[in-house]
């Protein structure tokens, strides 16, 4: 189990600190795929990156991350080295385009495990099994990254990032650049890696809620650096409680809806500036239900079992 407690990660800028993650608390259970969704700038990628490497201007402010009760030293770069890749592994956005184009894929993997003092020969058998699982032949180890299609590269990245069986895999927008057919295949492969217990849990970060509905067990909805709502996938989709989640789900064109029959609505306005976010609920300015109560910040409260919402108005809705 991974616990994230009151985590604050800011970005240093000339005009002050941008509060990209502001008091974020949630847990990731064993054998779970936890989806994180939200608009650009809501802090979902910051969350994933901060658990691996705090690269300036990103800075740690407060809070804790625990893996199975043990504190993860996210503010200490050298100590984190022991944990990266072995305990916690990240597939950053555009990872598939970050493979070294001048090296063969086998060589890239050899270098990578070498960095962690593991001989390539030790993991070779496992590597071949895993490639087979994602329907890639081992011949690709002798190929260059540009010889593979997007979907194939993304599957390869999945294999590479889980080679040391990490406890937690963070997948940041891994399907957004893919076609629907590869998107489905790649998403389902992540699920299979979890089912086969190659990784213990997965954080699946995406802006595409429809993909989360297909594979995630629980969903965290983030807005402007804060958690808006947490709950089991089915409940979040069927019965969203936070006004932001409601509006977000309502704005999605689901196949089967035509403009002539049903008008979809976007969310007017835009997220607040995170350098000087307004006091109180950060969705206040765009929320149709906001009133003077919302000038005070709503806490993330458990409404039902496993269902947490940060909204004052949730009882009236």
């Amino acid at each position: 189990m991974i616990q994230i407690e009151r985590l604050r990660i800011y970005y240093k800028t000339l005009h002050g600190d941008a509060k990209a993650l502001d008091d974020v608390t949630f847990t990731i259970n064993d054998k779970e795929i936890l989806g994180i969704a939200g608009e650009s700038g809501c802090g979902k990628s910051t969350l994933g990156n901060s658990l691996i490497l705090l690269k300036p201007p990103m800075k740690y402010v407060s809070g804790e991350v625990k893996i199975n009760g043990e504190k993860l030293p996210i503010d200490n770069n050298t100590e984190m080295r022991r944990h990266r890749y072995k305990k916690i592994s990240l597939i950053p956005q555009y990872a598939m385009d970050a493979l070294n184009p001048t090296r063969k894929i086998g060589g890239i993997i050899r270098d990578l495990v070498g960095q962690h003092k593991i001989k390539y020969e030790e993991i070779e058998k496992r590597l071949h099994e895993r490639l087979n699982m994602v329907k890639l032949s081992k011949d690709i180890l002798n190929m260059y990254p540009f010889e593979l299609s997007g979907g194939m590269k993304q599957r390869l990245v999945l294999v590479i990032s889980t080679l040391l069986n990490p406890d937690l895999l963070i997948a940041d927008e891994v399907t957004s650049a893919l076609d629907v057919s590869s998107q489905k295949a790649v998403s389902l492969m992540f699920k299979e890696f979890r089912d086969r217990e190659i990784v213990n849990s997965i954080i699946f970060i995406t802006h595409d809620i429809a993909v989360l509905y297909q594979i995630a067990d629980r969903i965290v909805i983030m807005y402007a650096g804060k958690v808006a709502e947490i709950g089991p996938t089915e409940e979040i989709i069927a019965n969203p409680l936070h006004p932001y989640t409601k509006a977000l789900i309502k704005s999605l064109p689901n196949a089967g809806i035509r403009h002539t029959k049903e008008k979809l609505e976007g969310i007017p306005g835009h997220p607040p500036n995170l350098i000087n976010p307004p006091a109180g609920c950060r969705f206040r300015d765009r929320c149709p239900f906001a009133d003077e109560n919302c000038l005070e910040e709503p806490p993330l409260k458990e409404i039902n079992k496993g269902r947490l919402v940060a909204c004052w108005k949730v009882k009236d809705l």
Partner: protein
């Protein structure tokens, strides 16, 4: 309005001894009428954007024609005249604007270049009007620089620009893929206002839900060839080509979960039949293909619904 006739584009790659040709678009025929939105869908590399670029005269076809009201667009030598009728909007709105101009100056330039006959005072009213139509408030955007606006606002400004120019044809190539879900819908709605003034719109996308939401017709491309086309309602409710069926099956939806055992993937372990000239291009991924799948011609199977599959 605009029509593609046997449109073909062949790219040459390689040099001297390793010359290669890639047929990106292979004898494609379609037509978009006044006030119609045609969705052009297919996976990366299927030739969607190549068709869009040819319609905008950014690429020259290797064969076939594009007819704008029965006139080959490549015979229109006056580019200004052409682009006053045909405009394009692309994926990245930030690269479509001049970053050192404010928005109102961009609209002024439209008048100077294309609508000199409109007096300046009337022009300002028109600008306000079209901004309202695309859901923007003139006061909020006109005095801003590009970097002060969001992607969704910029895409809507481009649609407003097309509205001001009274374009006849608009090519919209992946215009919502960089946007957040909450602003995507606003851009789609703005596109519908362009449909209202009678423009023919080519909506290039890989998002089938969005395609279904706004389009009237659909063309499904696979490796440069049309596999299925027709009325979008007919194609979505009754897809007949195995590729279309697979595509529609893969759409992540909020009311239906994927069937987990069914997915299509380039399996590099499987010894795939290499596609041979003269066969259906989908043959190596098709679940029902066999040796009789000789390159199928596109056939009418019901009113306004065409399929190119030998197994029908």
């Amino acid at each position: 309005m605009i029509k593609a006739k046997n449109l073909t584009k062949v790219f040459n790659s390689g040099f001297l001894f390793s010359k290669n040709t890639i047929t990106a678009v292979d004898e494609v025929n379609f037509e978009i009428g006044r006030g119609e939105i045609l969705a052009l869908v297919g996976e990366s590399g299927s030739g969607k954007s190549t068709i869009g670029k040819m319609m905008l005269k950014l690429l020259k076809p290797s064969g076939g024609q594009i007819l704008l009201e029965d006139k080959d667009i490549f015979s229109i030598s006056n580019n200004k005249e052409f682009y006053s009728k045909v405009q394009g909007i692309f994926q990245d709105p930030y690269s479509s604007f001049n970053p050192i101009f404010k928005v109102n100056r961009i609209f002024k330039l439209v008048r100077q270049s294309f609508k000199k006959e409109v007096p300046a005072s009337e022009w300002n009213d028109r600008v306000e009007n079209v901004l309202k139509k695309v859901g923007l408030n003139a006061g909020d955007v006109l005095n801003k620089y590009i970097h002060q606006l969001s992607g969704g606002q910029l895409q809507r400004l481009l649609i407003a620009r097309a509205l001001l120019m009274d374009v006849e044809v608009l090519v919209a190539d992946e215009i919502t893929s960089m946007l957040d879900a909450s602003t995507r819908v606003d851009v789609l709605e703005a596109l519908l206002s362009l449909k209202e003034i009678g423009a023919a719109i080519m909506f290039i996308t890989h998002d089938l839900s969005q395609a279904y939401y706004i389009s009237d017709k659909i063309v499904v491309l696979y490796r440069g060839s049309i596999v299925e086309m027709g009325s979008i309602e007919k194609v979505f409710s009754n897809p007949r080509h195995p590729y279309t069926q697979m595509l529609l099956d893969s759409i992540p939806q909020l009311d239906r979960k994927w069937e987990t055992d069914k997915f299509d993937i380039e399996d590099s372990n499987k010894n795939q039949t290499i596609w041979k000239e003269g066969f259906c291009k989908y043959v190596d991924r098709c679940p029902i293909a066999d040796t009789t799948c000789i390159k199928p011609a596109i056939k009418l199977i019901e009113e306004d619904h065409y399929v190119a599959c030998a197994k029908l």
